[in-house]
């Protein structure tokens, strides 16, 4: 893996986009996370913290993309049984 490829994997993990596992119905980890070494995962975590702080400041309700992703799953589904 080249340094550029590693950088892209780290940045890919910082998105709030996550899929739902069709069998467990739980939020599934990002595929890029599993391709990173420990240092890369640590950097991705720290970058995500910074990214969410920026998002929070730029959103009128103070919601991050994580919060908006969660909200989008609440509204149509109401409460899961």
């Amino acid at each position: 893996m080249t340094p550029d490829e590693r950088e892209e994997l780290i940045e890919a993990v910082t998105t709030a986009h996550r899929t739902i596992d069709p069998f467990t119905r739980m939020v599934r980890g990002h595929e890029a996370f599993h391709d990173l070494d420990d240092d890369g995962r640590r950097v991705a975590y720290e970058r995500t913290l910074a990214t969410r702080a920026i998002e929070r400041a730029l959103d009128p309700k103070g919601w991050t993309t994580t919060a908006r992703a969660v909200m989008s799953r609440l509204r149509p589904a109401a409460r899961r049984p």
């Binding site: 420990d38 640590r42 908006r68």
Partner: protein
Amino acid sequence: MDLDLHLASIAAGDPDAFGAWMAEAERPLRASLRSFATRVDVEAVVQEALLRAWNIAPRVERDGAPNALLRVTLRIARNLAIDEVRRARSVAVGDDDHDASLRFATTVAMPDPLLREAIHTCSERLPARPRQALLARIASEGAEHDGTIAARIGMRLNTFLQNFTRARKLLADCLRGRGIDLGEVV
């Protein structure tokens, strides 16, 4: 601050009240999972824990201490992370992890209007392409894969990711010029 001021409305099924609670609860929740960052995808755990918080809220009883729902959610998140570590047969969970998250339940911070203003100003000064990447991902609200967002704004995926990295770095540099360390803020 006691985020349980939203609890009755959340329990009654009000998504907006949950959103207001989540705006404050997300940061301590994510911070509580730092020790798991090399072993589980913290973003997935945070989102799953928040969804479970919504589901469990009607059964949460206040115990006299503040932030009952946040404390329950921190515990849910920690248990999810431990389950994931065990499922992956990764490194055993050490004593340092036990209940370390609970101290965050009483340290919920209010948003700082000055910081908010500084981030706004700095984001407006970003070069066009990094700013476009930053705002496009925010606008997608976590609903789209980066590849989809990149295609929509006419970038290749790797270019989009590079621009996003650059946007955050330039924004952090701009904030530093105003005496704000983004690392300390988070």
